[in-house]
């Protein structure tokens, strides 16, 4: 038995996190982007390439609604235990310690008419406040309290910038969806969704994934990305602090193990003071709401041939499932309309139900490519080291729905 394992070990290359980090620190690591690695392996062959390549950089840029940040404002004189707060008129959650708040990306600005006059414009919200903070702009803090003996102050109105805060820590419960639905609208009128404006009668189609660049599509079985992995979050050094909310690994997958629907997610955190404004952008989705678009880069250590092989996945081998957002998605009927590869989707037009449908995207391939390059440069220069996960992401987890049973009697 031992003999067999040893034999396998001599035949198949394997590296450790430590040996890769030593090469990175020495400025000698071989790093390729998730796009470059495809051609590289085609030319060199898997075995030879696996010996040479140390890291493959993956990335994505798009709206990630489950994002937000903890802010600590420091204490005023006299002190105040903030119980309600608005930053640029966007309400933050205050049910935590005295001057800590959590600002969520999808929070609307106070008095936003929302969809009262449909479709609402949703020009400004939590995501935009986060964008302005990262861009170094001053924002208005308005806070109220009931006052206590140790925290007597009852009201604050002041201007602050990110450098005035003790901490500004982005904590996102769900980023980097492994794959995503493709949205269409079969109804007779245009609809306004988180997948953008969908034209009536199948006259447009929206997808939202970086495809062959996307982190979890390059590591479909979570062999390297886990809790504790280092990530590049909008330019800051961040980490995966947990499985993301709605992480679902028991999904339909293609032969290459790549999911054809949502699947895995990551919970990410990083210091907002180190972020680059270019990759932290408020989002206004007409008729739907506000959000935040983020750029995320994840380095994949090439520990063995199998891990390398999976990073060579290309758009033509990654499929996504089309759903009708006028009926089947909201009503949760489970019905799907078809499946296309990202290569087909990126061509700008596909044929569905006998109709030629123009395709658009919400995820920016251009920015994802830029992030792959930026992260590659940081690793090459020795300034970005990898970390071994302390826990794997759940590998056999299904998605639960919510049973609405009414109040218990």
């Amino acid at each position: 038995m031992i003999f067999v394992i040893l034999f396998a070990g001599t035949r198949t290359m394997s590296k450790s996190y430590q040996s890769i980090n030593e090469k990175i620190a020495a400025g000698k690591a071989v790093v390729l982007t998730a796009e470059e690695v495809i051609d590289y392996v085609d030319r060199k062959g898997l075995e030879a390439a696996a010996k040479e390549v140390d890291v493959v950089t993956t990335a994505t840029f798009g709206p990630m609604c489950s994002s937000g940040c903890f802010l600590n404002f420091g204490h005023s004189k006299p002190k105040m235990r903030i119980t309600e707060a608005w930053i640029n008129d966007v309400q933050a959650y205050c049910g935590i310690a005295a001057v800590d708040v959590y600002l969520g990306a999808t929070q609307l600005r106070h008095n936003d008419p929302a969809n009262m006059y449909h479709p609402g414009e949703f020009r400004y919200g939590g995501g935009h406040v986060i964008e302005e903070l990262v861009a170094g702009k001053k924002v208005q803090l308005f806070a109220l309290s009931y006052g206590t003996e140790d925290y007597p102050r009852r009201e604050i109105r002041t201007m602050v910038a990110i450098d005035d805060l003790n901490q500004a820590i982005m904590v996102n419960p769900r980023n980097c969806y492994q794959n995503y639905n493709v949205a269409v609208n079969l109804s007779d009128k245009r609809i306004y969704t988180y997948m953008g404006i969908l034209k009536a009668r199948l006259r447009s189609m929206t997808y939202s994934s970086a495809g062959q660049l996307s982190p979890l599509l390059n590591d479909p079985l979570y062999q390297t990305i886990g809790v504790g992995s280092s990530v590049w979050l909008a330019g800051a050094r961040g980490l995966v602090y947990s499985q993301g909310t709605q992480h679902t690994s028991l999904v339909e997958r293609s032969e290459n193990d790549v999911p054809v629907e949502g699947a895995g997610t990551l919970a990410l955190s990083a210091n907002m003071k180190e972020m680059l404004p270019e990759f932290v952008r408020g989002v206004s989705l007409q008729g739907y709401g506000v959000s935040l678009a983020l750029g995320v880069g994840v380095p994949i250590p090439i520990l063995n041939v199998d891990i390398l092989r999976r990073t060579t996945v290309r758009d033509s081998e990654i499929y996504a499932t089309v759903m009708d957002y006028s009926e089947d998605y909201p009503q949760k009927t489970g019905k799907t309309l078809g499946r296309f590869s990202y290569a087909e989707l990126r061509s700008g037009q596909v044929e569905l139900l006998g109709k030629k449908v123009p395709v658009t995207s919400l995820s920016s391939y251009y920015k994802a490519l830029r992030i792959c390059e930026l992260l590659k440069a940081e690793i090459q220069s020795g300034s970005f080291l990898l970390s071994e996960p302390s826990q794997p992401l759940p590998a056999a987890q299904a998605m639960r729905g919510l049973e609405c049973v009414g109040p218990e009697r």
């Binding site: 840029f61 404006i197 189609m205 700008g348 658009t360 995207s361 919400l362 920016s364 391939y365």
Partner: protein
Amino acid sequence: MSITKKIYLYFPKSETEKPIVYQLVKDFNLIINIFRAKVTPEEEGYLSLDVTGQEADIERAFAYLSTLEVVIHVGNKGLRWDAERCTHCGACVVHCPTGALAFADTATRRLAFTEDVCVECHACIPACPFGACSSSF
């Protein structure tokens, strides 16, 4: 030799009753092609047009317009695309009827705005989640 200039006329309330287009045609021999207009008596308004004619006539026409408190934007259309705000997501592409907003490079998927083909329909404004497309007015 005749030339074409794209101009944008912005009318304050005081100027909306003057027959400006008529004069451009009659007094300066210009050929007018209007893309987009909103001119209502007693309200501010705008006109987006191409003017074609002799260079000297166009110069005289501009001189005339400048006497009327009319703001002229030469070569500037009613749709402003902010390259800094654009994230190249592509959400606008299916909504733009003329291909003015389109991917310029299939490999990097960089989006570009080609002002010449824009008809100022403004369909891209609500479709852009990043506020990169806005009306000039």
